[in-house]
């Protein structure tokens, strides 16, 4: 632990993480973090804790307004109106359900997830666990086979369409590494327009390119310059790490 590290109290470091310091103080702590692994580790732990808290309450349990009337809604008039509305809604829902979601429209996509005992399980994506009322799905593409690339986009679109139609919140990441990088390379991707269109229509979709795979490609092809990625693509340091982290966080994993 350096002398700077000792000078920076936990309160101070918290304020830094929470962006509560002025520019000078921030610069001082940034400089210390750069030269002090211990301090850097402390800062990372604090950031990680914040992310865990945010993750734990991303979408809290559904408000129980229909399960238990709140104080403001108590009263016979409201109850009668609610019952009538429920009945009408139920009938309409019953009639339209068959049209909207015929039995053949279930998402027959195999997905993997970690159960409570941290054992890997596979199931249809629809049967995989729902987290906090919404779905979090990671699609992984690692081949340059154009047919597989197209499959990845088709699966992505189908999942997003279906969950949107069902009003189920969804967060979907498409992670590309190895040959799958071709999907997100601006110079050779055969699906640039489609990706732009998908991103435009679905903000809950994120594309990630694996930085490790990009570095390996540069080495393999003896190139100095990083190939341009599509503007919709973000990078993740390592696809495998991303997948493992997401599995730990309860996401379901689909390999295309």
């Amino acid at each position: 632990m350096s002398s700077d590290d000792k000078l920076i109290s936990d309160e101070h470091l918290n304020a830094f993480i929470d962006n509560q310091l002025d520019a000078d103080e921030k610069s001082r702590i940034l400089a210390s973090i750069k030269s002090d692994n211990e301090l850097s580790h402390r800062a990372c732990e604090l950031k990680r804790l914040r992310e865990l808290v945010q993750h734990a309450y991303e979408l809290p349990s559904v408000r129980p307004e229909h399960a238990r009337p709140s104080r403001a809604m108590r009263g016979s008039l409201q109850a009668t109106a609610a019952a009538a509305l429920l009945a009408v809604g139920g009938v309409i829902g019953w009639i339209t359900h068959g049209q909207q979601y015929p039995a053949t429209n279930s998402l027959d996509v195999k997905a993997m997830y970690l159960d409570e005992e941290k054992a890997f399980q596979t199931a249809r994506v629809d049967d995989a666990p729902t987290i906090q009322g919404g779905r979090k799905i990671l699609l992984h593409i690692s081949t340059d086979d154009p047919q597989k690339l197209e499959d990845a986009l088709n699966t992505t679109e189908r999942l997003l369409q279906t969950y949107r139609a069902r009003h189920v919140p969804v967060e979907l990441e498409l992670v590309a590494n190895a040959g799958g990088l071709n999907l997100l390379r601006a110079d050779i991707s055969p699906f640039a327009d489609r990706i732009e269109d998908l991103q435009f229509r679905y903000e809950e979709l994120t594309f990630f390119a694996c930085q490790t795979a990009i570095n390996q490609m540069l080495e393999r092809e003896h190139r100095n310059q990083v190939p341009p990625l599509l503007p919709q693509a973000l990078t993740t340091p390592n696809a495998l790490d991303q997948i493992l982290t997401r599995l730990q966080e309860g996401w379901v994993y689909i390999s295309v």
């Binding site: 804790l49 734990a56 809290p60 408000r63 129980p64 993997m112 309860g250």
Partner: protein, 187 residues
Amino acid sequence: MKLVKLFGRNQAFRQRLEGNRDRLFRIAYSWCHEPALADDLVQETMEKALKKSNQLRELEALDTWLFSILNNAWRDHFRRSRDTVDIDDIPFVSDSSPEEEGHTHQVVTEVRGAIATLPMGQRQVLTLVDLEGCSYIEVANILGVPVGTVMSRLCRARRALKDRLLETDLMRDAETDETPTRIRRIK
């Protein structure tokens, strides 16, 4: 002209109030971990906000104002149920267990369980900062405590969470579990 302005402001106020319902519920839920109670607290907050809307001078201050009303509603709830104990000193035991929340993911359950063990004062500061991104000064205003208290509560809360969460097997596994070979192709 004044009437039109007033009407416009009321409309904007109501819209923003309704738009804040889910955020209020999230914070209320993170404090009490009871969906029904959280819903009641939010409803009470919305009612009070509507009644006292003339007290809000700037719409920009709506968020802080709403959270302080929520905090008052929460404290009132406690006063009604526990007259003799200081709300800030109550150590909460975990009100959820893996068995009860079998459908909930382990990480979420553990983090919520850890937060549930924090004294209420620390829990409120932590959730307002982490979930709502409130500044320390805003939190101080919402809870009616000095900024120094906000900082020390936050610090103690994060130390406690670190001890509970980052030292557990779960997090160690997440950091060290080198199991790429266990991933198998599934389609």
